[in-house]
Assembly symmetry: C2
Homo-oligomer: 460 residues x 2
């Protein structure tokens, strides 16, 4: 039953997930995004030819005589299909949903992997680099708010890469495969990457060495300006277009106050076929228990998230994808970002385990309890009063529970208050309100109880 063991999420995991989702969704909404949903099934032909070498991980469903269907591999291709089918030409949307990949099908005989993706995209014909800058601002906001530690956002552009390949003497038909090799620079040394280019992919040593000089470069707007003056680079129209846009992007990033974390990095390539312009990837830079642990399952997550070791977000511009689904080929330019949310979850889970603070799995404000026997009906009546007033309340489903076991449940699940009923309290029209943490008890009149509970739990 390993399939299920692997994928069930218990209440503690769900509580952490909910917190992460809330942070991310708040950010998306702050930026005016709408929400859409698409089915987990797409026509097989919709997914064909969109993912490059990763296409082998797509899970096809059984042929039942109807349409051939696959489980969605990501949320970007379904989004593009949605835009084309519904003739939507302008939208800023987020989509959080599960996607499915075969986990190394050769090794595991068709086992699935199921995981969340968390995407924000802006579709529409706009002035250059404004939506692109907003996507980077969003990554900056989310990673800052999640407090995962220090991070960097690497930025590059497919046009700069292609221009660089051209001026370095890479034959046109080798652009994509050389790009895939460059993409490995975050996990492999330059020597190994160079060797793969020359020995496996048949590139000349001269071309490889020229590429090597460029991909070691990192900087900001200054680097884009320098490369625009570069004797070789400036020969490529494509590279110049990309570099001019990169300068523009950095000027907007300055206005958004996020240049502290953003680096123009010529070694960033990203594997997916559909990118046409700016690409980016955010990585955690902190060394210590958290990123080390995250890197441990990095090999598995490379395939999972389409991002490299340490990567927690990635995306880019894909101006051609929607047109592939439109009968007349009408294009809708798009740019977007995907948060590597499963990586974020596992970091947050590790942080929670390392922390002394307990993760609450409920939001219960008060437990309705009694110290004496035969007060079940009174407990239920009070509990219903609290529910009707919007208070989050629990009551034990026993006729005569021990006070100790009622208090123990509060300790275990972090319930901050106990409303204790007894014969005397009922006679006096009060409730003994106990603060679990301090064990302090005060009598509160029934009429003021709701107000008092709200006051004491207003920061919960």
């Amino acid at each position: 039953m390993t399939v299920n063991i692997e994928l069930d999420y218990n209440p503690k995991q769900m509580a952490i997930r909910e917190k992460v989702f809330n942070t991310i969704i708040s950010c998306f909404k702050r930026h005016g995004a709408e929400n859409i949903d698409t089915p987990v099934f797409e026509l097989k032909e919709t997914l064909t030819g969109k993912y490059g070498e990763d296409s082998k991980l797509i899970y096809d469903l059984k042929d039942q005589g109807g349409e051939l269907l696959s489980l969605r591999y990501d949320l970007t291709v379904p989004f593009a299909r949605y835009l084309a089918m519904n003739k939507v030409t302008n939208i800023k949307r987020y989509h959080i949903a599960k996607v499915y990949r075969r986990d190394n099908p050769a090794m595991t005989r068709g086992r699935y992997r199921e995981f969340y993706q968390c995407d924000f995209d802006i579709a529409g014909q706009y002035d250059p680099m404004i939506p692109d800058a907003e996507c980077l601002k969003i990554v900056h906001e989310i990673l800052s708010e999640l407090e995962l530690g220090d991070f960097r956002i690497k930025v590059n552009d497919r046009r700069i890469l292609d221009g660089m390949f051209a001026v370095c003497g890479v034959p046109d038909d080798k652009f994509r495969t050389i790009c895939s090799t460059v993409d490995k620079l975050d996990k492999m040394s330059w020597e190994d990457v160079r060797s793969e280019m020359v020995k496996e992919k048949g590139l000349s040593e001269e071309a490889a060495d020229q590429i090597g000089q460029y991909v070691s470069l990192q900087g900001g707007m200054d680097l884009a300006e320098r490369l625009l003056q570069d004797a070789k680079m400036s020969q490529s129209k494509q590279a110049c277009a990309g570099l001019t846009d990169m300068k523009q992007l950095f000027s907007y990033l300055q206005l958004f106050q996020v240049t502290d974390k953003v680096v123009f990095d010529l070694s960033l390539a990203r594997g997916l076929d559909y990118y046409t312009g700016v690409i980016y990837e955010a990585i955690l830079t902190q060394t210590g228990p958290v990123p080390v642990a995250a890197a441990q399952n990095g090999a598995g997550e490379k395939a999972e998230e389409g991002v490299s070791v340490g990567s927690v977000a990635g995306g880019g511009r894909y101006d051609g994808l929607v047109g592939m689904f439109d009968p007349k080929g009408r294009k809708v330019p798009c740019v977007g970002v995907s948060i590597g949310i499963e990586r974020v979850f596992s970091i947050m889970e590790q942080k929670a385990e390392a922390s002394a603070e307990k993760v609450r799995t409920t939001e219960t404000q008060v437990m309705v309890a009694s110290a004496q026997k035969n007060l079940l009906e009174e407990r239920l009546r009070l509990t219903a009063e609290l529910w009707n007033a919007g208070i989050k309340a629990e009551v034990m489903y026993k006729k005569n529970p021990k006070l100790l076991s009622q208090l123990q449940h509060c300790e275990d699940s972090g319930i901050p208050l106990v409303a204790i009923l007894g014969e005397q309290e009922l006679k006096d029209g009060v409730v003994k309100l106990r603060t679990v943490h301090s064990r302090e008890e005060i009598d509160v009149s029934r009429a003021k109880l709701v107000e008092e509970i709200k006051r004491r739990t207003s920061d919960v």
Copy 2:
């Protein structure tokens, strides 16, 4: 591409769904529920033999040489499997997720249906009927808060049904099939139900007529008391146990103040095999455009939700299901309720369409605009300031948008405020804050802008 057309949800639908989910999740949390998640795939054997006649709608996946997998049919069986696997003996949890059924496989060659289920369950050995009463209280709260119109919650008990069948002379091996026929009383006349019992299922006319007398009965605690005195019913131990618990249930429902909507109805049967005690079903009783429209797609939704026409929630007690997954057969008593959320969505969508009020698909509080050219940088700078202060803000991705098109966007998407920048405002250190609805404009200093926006949108 019909598969996808049918199942995409646009931003307006998603906004309505989010509102419904928020209401339901708030209620579940108010009752102290935890959240879990399970994968969409279950072992085929996990689902086998749990759903009675509906099992033919389970969607099996392709045999890839590994485990045989099926898509989950509901959330109850995976929950029971989760409890047994993790040896959980006490939990109150909710689970909101998509389930999958084949849409009449004979007709549509294996087409899927994908839809949400929304379940709340209480597992554990407790004093009788307390958790059962809480489930009914939850249905009452949710249906009241969603304002779907008047409703009734029918209650019955499998033990009362089985006892009734026994004393009416139904042979033991016909209990389940006669139960399925009784379940059709909400859509068929008694004459047709009687005819199916006698002609198709071979029941004697005398037995059928005796059943007919009982299933016409409706009432409350009084009816349970009366039946406990009934000469025939009182001969069945099972029926007496069910009737005694029914009395107890009504006494708790009185404390919870929900007896106005709850009816003990002997014709309620419910189709699923796994119920062992109390069963219930909530129906909308209002006549008018809303329920008529809901009933129109009722035939399809019968299979979808496992509930009958007009039904918006259902559930019951299933004390044996967890034990079926435990190697030693250890039982964990459970009771739960499933909200027929797709039905609720379609009613809410119809209400939204009938209403003059527009459904907002974003939560944007303010649009940062300019009346003059060349102010893109100033707009972006102010927008970032607002984002950083937690304000939901949008800005047009154009260098020089017309003021009219910026205002039009606010009208279209319901953005209540516009922060307008101009040369004069920049010089004076102010922003012109315009209320879209009233067209009123006031100058607000940059330092006070965030506060002023929060004040004006605090009810949004």
